[in-house]
Each structure stands twice: as C-alpha cells, then as structure tokens.
C-alpha cells in the first residue's frame, strides 16, 4: 500500500514539468547534432562561442514557433550547408561512406556461406 502511494507520488512529481523538459531536451538534442562551424571538433551544444550562443537562441525560437526537428535541420542546412550536420547525407560524395559497411558485410556473408555450405 505504502509502496503504491510512494510510486504514485514520484510519478506525479516527475510529470509536473514534463512539456518544458521535453522542449529543452529537443533543443539540446538538435544542438548536439550540429557542428560548431567556427570551433574545431565541438558541437554547438558544447561550444560557448558567439556563433554557438546565437545558434542555440535561434533553435529555441524555432522550437517555440512550432518547427519540427527536421525542419530546423533543413533550415540550417540551407543557410550553412551540409557540413553543419553531423550526420552525413547520402549523396554522390558519400556513397562510398554509406555503402562500404554493407559491402563488407555481404562479402563476409559470402565467405561464410562458401566455407560452411558449399563444401558439403
């Protein structure tokens, strides 16, 4: 009995700021997926440069305007190019990058099949 009340109380407390926490979470998530263009090897989330501070403000405004995560990414991609995104997009320059693991996987599978099944 006591267990359930405590459980409910904790659940209730955790739910109070739920929407607000959600907004901050998406903001941080977006900032973590963006490369800080004027710092080396840092995401926008990690950086405290003037550029990153402004960009975080822009992200917050766009979320408040009701833009989705994808829309924000494409908005920034238009402004700064693909380099701002950490995840490389599949295009002519990145075919090799995306398809190489798949090719290695297939080659490995072929070797295994050849070794264990075809011999019989």
């Amino acid at each position: 009995m006591r267990f359930t009340t405590i459980y409910l109380l904790i659940g209730f407390l955790l739910n109070i700021n739920f929407s607000y926490a959600n907004e901050i979470q998406t903001e941080n998530k977006i900032a973590k997926n963006l490369r800080c263009l004027i710092c080396q090897g840092q995401s926008v989330h990690d950086s405290d440069s003037e550029f990153a501070i402004s960009l975080k403000l822009v992200i917050r405004n766009k979320i408040e305007e009701g833009m989705s995560e994808k829309q924000i990414y494409s908005f920034l991609k238009k402004k700064y190019g693909e380099w701002i995104l950490y995840d490389p997009v599949l295009n002519r320059n990145t075919y090799f990058l995306w398809l190489l693991p798949l090719l290695i996987f297939l080659a490995g599978g072929a070797i295994i099949i050849k070794k264990f099944y075809i011999r019989k």
Binding site: L37, K79, Y80, W83
Partner: protein, 172 residues
C-alpha cells in the same frame, strides 16, 4: 597454388589502404565554407542603430543597385583592417554600404565610427546575433555583395585589397 594467392591479396589490400590514408593525410582538414549557398537575402526586421526604430529588409534593399552588407563590431580587430577599404568604397556612387553591428556595446560602436569614419549609409544592430544567423554568417567581419535581392558575392573575414579590387570590378 592457393597458398600463394592469399598473401598477395592481403598485401595488396593493406597497400591500397595505406595509399588511401596516405593521400588523405595531405588533404587540408580546415573547413572552407560552401560559398554557393542560398542566394536570396533573408527577409527580416532590423533595428536602427541611431534610434531603435524597426525597418523591414524590403525597404532597405529596394533599389536596383549594388549593396554591400557588412557585419562588424567595435571589439573586432580585423574590422579595423577592412575599414580603410570600406571608406574607399563609400566614395563609389554605384554601391551603397549597409552596416550590421554584431553583438556590440552601442557607445563603443559609436566611438568606433567617430574615430575611423562612418562608411555606412545605414547601420542596424544585431544584439543577439539572430539576424546574422539568418544571413548564414559565421561571425565578424563578414560582407555580402547584393544585387536585386540576391547575394552575388560573399566575403568571410576582412575585405583585403584583392577583394576590394574585385568588388570595384563587379560594380562596373
């Protein structure tokens, strides 16, 4: 026969990998921004430098002529270097200089313009850097050459003598 082929393949494999990495080593890993990004200028509301009145961007870049939009700040040292060329461009009737004061203290900015001269026809403020992000700017100084609401040239960093000559050529 089989014994001979495998080591050759392995050696070849490592050789190819070595060549790829060796060539990759020579690639410069400094990011040079893609200068062929969005051409249209962003539609924004700017705050005037002198009296904080709001002006829509359509009213600023409305004439059929060249505009040079320059992002600057009084705390930015390279901005002082390029200032000489901006003053020279001011004398050219074919181009209108627009200044965007980036994250600056107003009194310092006014002092800067008093000291070195004001090359801008209009100056606007960007207190939080949001307008600059809409332009796709990286920081200060940065300049955009605009014609008919389109960015035709973009200069990241201070305008140097070569850039100045180039701008003069384009305007003609």
């Amino acid at each position: 026969m089989k014994l001979k082929i495998t080591p050759i393949i392995i050696i070849l494999f490592f050789l190819i990998i070595f060549i790829i990495f060796f060539k990759g080593l020579k690639n410069s890993n400094i990011y040079t921004p893609d200068l062929n990004l969005e051409k249209k200028i962003p539609i924004l509301v700017y705050k005037s430098f002198e009296n904080n009145t709001e002006i829509v961007s359509e009213k600023i870049f409305n004439k059929k002529r060249f505009y040079l939009m320059n992002i600057w700040a009084s705390w930015c040292i390279p901005c002082r270097e390029e200032h000489v060329f901006l003053m020279k461009l001011k004398k050219d009737q074919k181009v209108e200089l627009i200044g965007l004061n980036y994250k600056d203290n107003i009194t310092n900015a006014k002092k800067f313009l008093k000291e070195l001269g004001n090359p801008y026809k209009k100056v606007f403020t960007d207190v939080d850097g949001i307008s600059s992000i809409s332009w796709g700017a990286y920081g200060v100084p940065e300049s955009f050459l605009i014609y008919e609401n389109k960015i035709i040239k973009r200069y990241i960093g201070p305008i140097k003598y070569e850039n100045f000559i180039e701008i003069e050529k384009i305007i003609k």
